[in-house]
Structure formats: structure tokens, C-alpha cells
């Protein structure tokens, strides 16, 4: 009962913080728009969104896993391998001897997306197998996944593999420039790929599912006190396997976003630490989907700003601007967020009696 109340309280506070952040961001956007012109502001916002999506999805992956008492430092590896599989499926399906209906671009891209996400889920299951069935230290299990992903994708990397096409914008901007503000808002809301929209929906859905459904209650219970949940008839292991599969799928979606929606090609180690940043963002958001999303947005915004600051004529070496997202995260964390309390049983293997 008590823990339920504190959860609700922190829940409300997170929502409040997110709301204040959103209002401030909108105000800042308007201020900047009058100063730098709407095109720049819209460019910064769109770059922020592009930077936010994979990190937010990685953070969701972390939440599924850690709310189920399993520390997940393997997000990076899950993202990387899914990015690779999504890309290679797309390449393979555009090759010879493939039936025409699979070659058809929307089908091909969806199959590639699903394949990448599924393989991400399989990596999640591997993490579950090692840490639930074999009680391997969960940091080790995550490290295995990261190393394995870096090795496998590098080993199977095909130099020069190219593909035609990536996920197109789902809805085109219906306004044209004569529409003024509506056009600029349209530029932000529309012209995005399917994964971007999916991310927004998923964040909301996960928040509701985690705090308003039986599944969410059980998941939080096994994260805090698996013995109690077990006593009340929750199948702890089965729930952990299920949630770890979904965790892998989330990371996989983040990885697939990189190759199928954002870039359109695969490079060795292309996740370049995004999985670790997602992990940081998850802790930053105190294991709450909305908090993590806010953290991802902060990070995405700082990343986008770094690309734009030069255009504002601010003359500092670009490396210092490059530090911005990371410094900002540390400052916000140390100054405002402070101590983060993980799910009580996070990282501790559970033994059914």
C-alpha cells in the first residue's frame, strides 16, 4: 500500500516535470523562432526528434528489463544486431530470386523492420536465458551480448552492400509555405517515418501498461519483491522471459530506426554508444517511461543544438559544443535529479523455492 502511494506520488511528479519541461521547450522555441527564424527552429526540433527516437527506444528496452529485476547493459548490442539484420534483410530482399511481392518496397521494408525487431527480441531472450536460467551475473550477460553483437555484425559485414530505399515519411505535410505557422508546425508533426510515430505511441502505451494494467502491476512486483509476487501466484520466470523478449524488441526497433529510417545503410559499430546513453537516460528518468522519454528528448535536443550552434555565429571550437549533450546530462543529473532508486530487486537473480 505504502509503496503503491509513493509510486503514484513519484508518478505525478514525473508527469509534472515533463509538463513543465514541455511548456518551457515550447516557450523557448517561440523565443528562438523570433530570433533565428522558423526554418532554423524547425530544423533543430526535427534533428532533436531524430536524435531522441533511438535513445528513447533503448531506454524503453531498459525499462522492460530492469522493471523485471534484470539489469540490462546489453541494449547497445541488441540495437546493433537488429540494425544489422534489418539492413541486411532489406538488401537481401531487393536481390535476385526473390518473389515480386516481397520486392515491393513497402512489404520489403516492413519485413526487414519486423526481422530486425524479432532478432532484437531473440537477443533479449538470450539475456533472459543467461540471467534467469543460468543465474549468470547480469552485467556479464549484458557484456556478452554487446561483444557478441559487435563481433557478429563486424564478422558478417559485407563491404559495399547497398540498398534501395528506406522507410518513407508516413504522412506528408498537407500545408504549403503560404500557410505560415501551420506549415512550420506541419513540418514538425508530419514528414516522419513510421518508427518515429510508433515511438510516441509506445511511450504512452508503456506508461499506461506499466501503471494501469495487471501485467504492469506484476512486472513492478517482480522488480521490487519477486518472492511476494511468487507467493501470490505470479510466474516470475515466465514474466521475466516475456518482458526480456519485449525489451529486446524495443532495442531492436531503435536499431532498425538507424538503418531503415534515419541513415539507410549499415556501418560497423554504428550504434556508437547510443545503447549506453539509453541506459543512462533510463536511470536519469528513474525507470519511468515518461521520465526516460524526457531524458532522451533533453539529450536529443542537446545533440541537435550542437549541429546548429555554429550557424548562430558562436565561435567556440566544435569539440566543446560536442561535449554539450553529455555535460548537460551530468549537470542535470547532479543538480536536479540526484539519487535514483532502482527497482529493489534489480540485478539480483531470483530463486523459486
Amino acid at each position: 500500500m505504502l509503496s503503491n502511494m509513493t509510486t503514484t506520488a513519484s508518478n505525478n511528479r514525473t508527469i509534472l516535470t515533463t509538463a513543465i519541461g514541455a511548456v518551457l521547450a515550447v516557450a523557448a522555441a517561440f523565443a528562438a523562432a523570433s530570433f533565428a527564424g522558423p526554418a532554423t527552429v524547425v530544423a533543430v526540433i526535427n534533428a532533436s526528434i531524430r536524435g531522441t527516437v533511438p535513445i528513447a527506444l533503448g531506454a524503453m528496452s531498459g525499462i522492460f528489463s530492469e522493471r523485471s529485476a534484470i539489469v540490462n547493459i546489453g541494449i547497445e548490442g541488441m540495437m546493433l544486431i537488429a540494425a544489422y539484420v534489418g539492413f541486411m534483410l532489406n538488401v537481401f530482399l531487393s536481390g535476385p530470386n526473390i518473389p515480386a511481392f516481397l520486392q515491393y518496397e513497402p512489404v520489403r521494408l516492413m519485413v526487414a523492420l519486423a526481422g530486425g525487431v524479432f532478432v532484437g527480441g531473440l537477443m533479449g531472450l538470450l539475456h533472459a536465458l543467461l540471467s534467469v536460467r543460468f543465474k549468470v551475473d547480469q552485467i556479464i550477460s549484458g557484456t556478452v551480448i554487446n561483444t557478441l553483437a559487435l563481433g557478429l555484425t563486424g564478422y558478417l559485414y559485407l563491404a559495399g552492400a547497398t540498398t534501395s530505399g528506406r522507410l518513407p515519411p508516413l504522412i506528408a505535410n498537407p500545408f504549403d509555405e503560404s500557410a505560415g505557422v501551420a506549415y512550420w508546425i506541419g513540418e514538425i508533426i508530419f514528414n516522419k517515418g513510421i518508427i518515429t510515430y510508433l515511438t510516441v505511441i509506445l511511450i504512452i502505451a508503456i506508461t499506461i501498461a506499466l501503471f494501469r494494467t495487471a501485467w504492469g502491476l506484476r512486472t513492478r512486483a517482480i522488480g521490487e519483491h519477486p518472492r511476494a509476487a511468487d507467493t501470490l501466484g505470479v510466474n516470475v520466470y515466465r514474466l521475466q522471459y516475456f518482458n526480456l523478449f519485449i525489451s529486446g524488441c524495443m532495442a531492436g526497433l531503435g536499431g532498425v530506426f538507424l538503418t531503415l529510417e534515419a541513415v539507410g545503410s549499415f556501418e560497423r559499430g554504428m550504434t556508437s554508444g547510443r545503447g549506453f546513453i539509453a541506459l543512462a537516460v533510463m536511470i536519469f528518468g528513474k525507470w519511468h517511461p515518461l521520465g526516460a522519454a524526457a531524458g532522451a528528448l533533453l539529450f536529443g535536443f542537446a545533440t541537435a543544438l550542437q549541429g546548429q550552434l555554429q550557424f548562430f555565429g558562436i565561435n567556440i571550437p566544435h569539440q566543446f559544443i560536442g561535449m554539450l549533450p553529455y555535460l548537460l546530462t551530468v549537470i542535470v543529473l547532479a543538480g536536479f535529479v540526484g539519487r535514483a532508486r532502482p527497482p529493489a530487486h534489480d540485478g539480483v537473480p531470483y530463486e523459486v523455492e
Partner: protein
């Protein structure tokens, strides 16, 4: 974790340790063997010859004197960086920041190495003083980079996993600025530590006096420098520090149960900061080994990924300094042999990472190995090296 296993870890002298080690040597060896076999399957699936690949690997790591020195030279920084991660784990902290601490350390040691002129009349004496100062600079740079997350953890509660990750990125940006070659055409001056070559981001060469002495120089590109001995001594000192000193006792106590440590009067804040300072210094020394022993300057990518291999090495060595030595030797050998493997057989060197991941997996999940080879014995306790995100 059961009560018995806690006492076993805490008491400085656990009886039967040697017997346990000998008795359980079979399982890690079989784990390596199994990983190698699965690696071979991957090699066959990609259409290569596994025999040729593995012979190339062994030849490149141990084939002749030059290969063996290459193994030892590759192993040296892994020992220090592995210790940096393992030591922090002992204190209950997850130091993902070895990479950042390491590159800061390699640059600070390079700076003292090239900017300082040491001439005491006697060349040997000058070298001893200059090398010591350069090593200290490397350790100090790394210690500083480790101290910040330690202080933030102790006084604001900011989680070290986040801050060390962020400081990796901050370090690489800082180094990139310090070393950038500039662009005279656009009026961008070179960074403060650049050697002014106009193209490459690197420091000037360090002085002769700052170079780690070569102790064995077989034919081939890689001479063996003093670093390997420093690494072994370092590992033993860390072992003593953890197992025999008051600080080590407090460190392990904070690592196992910070609340209990606090109630017994240990300053958890002080231990937290000190743990990160020492871990950072160790990582800084790893960077200094590369700068002072191999490259004789800091060049970009000279220690790419070393800080992340360090996590694997520490975990494979069960956070035990002697274990770290063995794991670093294994990884150093694989690293040293991978080039020849790729050259001889055409197998991409990344297969090494796959095998390393599998080794770690089978060593950690020894139940799998025991099941495959029908080894009896309890096993599968799934030793806990970390306690989640550690509360304090």
C-alpha cells in the same frame, strides 16, 4: 547470496582457495574450448577453413619470439584497464568509464613526455626520473577523470554508470580539441597539444628519456617494453591492497553492503571517491603504457575499444587481480594473433570478438559447460560480481 559465500569473500584468508582453483580449472578450459569450437562453426559457415584460421591465430600469438612479445605488449594495457574496472567492482561501483580515463591518461603522460626536458647529467638517472614523472602524469590524469564521477556519486548521488559513460564522450571531445591539427585555411588554429604537422591529430613525439626501456627486441615490429613487468607488479599490489589493507577491507565492505559499512563507522563517501580515484589512476596507467611504450606519442585511435575490452577482461577474471592477469593474457594473445589469422586465412578478425563473447558466456554460465561434458559438482552458483545498480 547466501551467508556462507559472503563470509568467504570477506575473510582475507579463505581456506582451500588453491584446491578450489585447481579443481575448477577444468571448467574454464573447457569453456574456452567450447567457444573455439563454436567459433570454428561460424568460420565454416562463412566458407573459410577453421584449421588455417586458428593455426594463423596461434602462430601470430606464439609462433616465434616476435609474436610472443606482441602478445605481451598487447596484454599490458589490458591488465591495467581490466584492474581499473575490477577494482571499482570490488567497491560496488561499475566503472564503464575506463575508456575515458585511459585516453586522458595517455595524453597527460604524452604531455609530460614531450614537454618536459629532464637532464640530470646521467642518462639512466634522467630516464628513471622522466619515466616516473610521465607515468605519474598518466595516473594523475586518469585519477582526475575518475575522481569527478566519484565525487558526483558521493555528494550528489549521480549514478556512476551515467556519469562515467558521459565522461567517456566528454574525454574524447576534449582530446579531439587538444590534438586537432587545425585548419589554417579557415583560420582554425591547431589544438594546444598538436605537433603542428597540419594534418594529423597527434602530439609531438615524447623525449628519448620518457620512453619505457625496451627489454627484449626480437626481429619483427614489436619490441617488448618494461610495461609488462609494471603490469604484473601493479596487479599484485592491487591484490595486496584489496586483500590485506584496512582500506581494502573497507572497500570490500562498502562493495558488499554500504549500509552495514556506514553503520560500522566507515565513511562511504570517502571510500567511493577513493575507489574511483584509484580505478581512474589504473586506467590512466593503461593509457600511459601505450604512449610511453608503443607509440611514443598520442595518436588518435591508439587505444580504440581498450576501455570496453577492460570490462570483459575484469569480468572474465572474476574481478580478481590474478584472474585479470590471466584474462588479459588470453585477450592479448587473441588480439596479437588476429592480424595473422586474417592475413593467412581471410577470416575477418571480428570472429575474435565472437569467440571472446562466447568464452565469457561459458565461463560465467558454467552449468552449460558442466552439462555438455557431464562434469559433476555443484557449480552454477552464478557468482555475483555486481549487485545491480548498487545502492548507497
Amino acid at each position: 547470496m547466501s551467508e556462507a559465500s559472503i563470509t568467504a569473500t570477506v575473510s582475507p584468508r579463505s581456506p582451500g582457495l588453491l584446491r578450489r582453483l585447481v579443481g575448477s580449472a577444468a571448467v574454464p578450459l573447457l569453456a574456452v574450448f567450447t567457444a573455439v569450437v563454436i567459433g570454428a562453426i561460424f568460420i565454416v559457415l562463412a566458407g573459410f577453413d577453421p584449421r588455417e584460421a586458428y593455426l594463423g591465430l596461434i602462430d601470430g600469438a606464439f609462433g616465434d619470439a616476435g609474436s610472443m612479445t606482441r602478445t605481451l605488449v598487447k596484454m599490458t594495457p589490458l591488465v591495467f584497464s581490466g584492474l581499473a574496472v575490477a577494482f571499482a567492482f570490488k567497491g560496488g561501483l561499475f566503472n564503464i568509464g575506463a575508456q575515458g580515463q585511459l585516453i586522458i591518461g595517455s595524453v597527460t603522460s604524452a604531455w609530460v613526455g614531450f614537454a618536459l626536458q629532464v637532464d640530470l647529467g646521467n642518462p639512466t638517472l634522467s630516464a628513471i626520473v622522466h619515466i616516473t614523472l610521465s607515468l605519474l602524469a598518466g595516473a594523475l590524469g586518469g585519477a582526475l577523470w575518475g575522481a569527478i564521477p566519484g565525487l558526483l556519486k558521493a555528494y550528489t548521488g549521480a549514478h556512476e554508470v551515467i556519469t562515467t559513460i558521459m565522461f567517456n564522450f566528454i574525454a574524447s571531445n576534449l582530446i579531439s580539441w587538444l590534438l586537432n591539427a587545425g585548419s589554417p585555411g579557415d583560420g582554425i588554429p591547431p589544438g594546444p597539444l598538436n605537433d603542428g604537422n597540419g594534418v594529423i591529430a597527434r602530439t609531438p613525439q615524447i623525449m628519448e628519456t620518457a620512453r619505457l626501456p625496451v627489454i627484449f627486441d626480437p626481429p619483427g615490429p614489436q619490441a617488448l617494453h618494461l610495461g609488462i613487468f609494471l603490469a604484473i607488479i601493479g596487479a599484485l599490489l592491487i591484490l595486496l591492497l584489496i586483500a590485506r589493507s584496512t582500506f581494502g577491507f573497507e572497500l570490500r565492505m562498502v562493495g558488499l553492503n554500504p549500509s552495514a559499512a556506514r553503520y560500522s563507522g566507515i565513511s562511504v563517501k570517502r571510500i567511493t571517491v577513493m575507489t574511483m580515484v584509484i580505478a581512474g589512476a589504473l586506467a590512466g596507467l593503461a593509457g600511459a603504457m601505450q604512449t610511453l611504450g608503443v607509440n611514443y606519442r598520442y595518436e588518435p585511435n591508439q587505444s580504440l575499444g581498450l576501455g570496453f575490452d577492460a570490462i570483459t577482461v575484469a569480468l572474465l577474471g572474476s574481478n580478481n587481480p590474478v584472474g585479470v592477469l590471466l584474462a588479459a593474457f588470453l585477450f592479448g594473445a587473441m588480439d596479437a594473433g588476429s592480424t595473422r589469422m586474417q592475413f593467412n586465412s581471410g577470416v575477418p578478425s571480428e570472429i575474435i570478438l565472437v569467440v571472446q563473447a562466447l568464452i565469457l558466456m561459458f565461463v560465467a554460465a558454467d552449468q552449460i559447460v558442466r552439462a555438455i561434458y557431464r562434469i559433476r559438482g555443484e557449480g552454477g552458483i552464478g557468482q555475483m560480481l555486481s549487485t545491480g545498480w548498487g545502492q548507497r
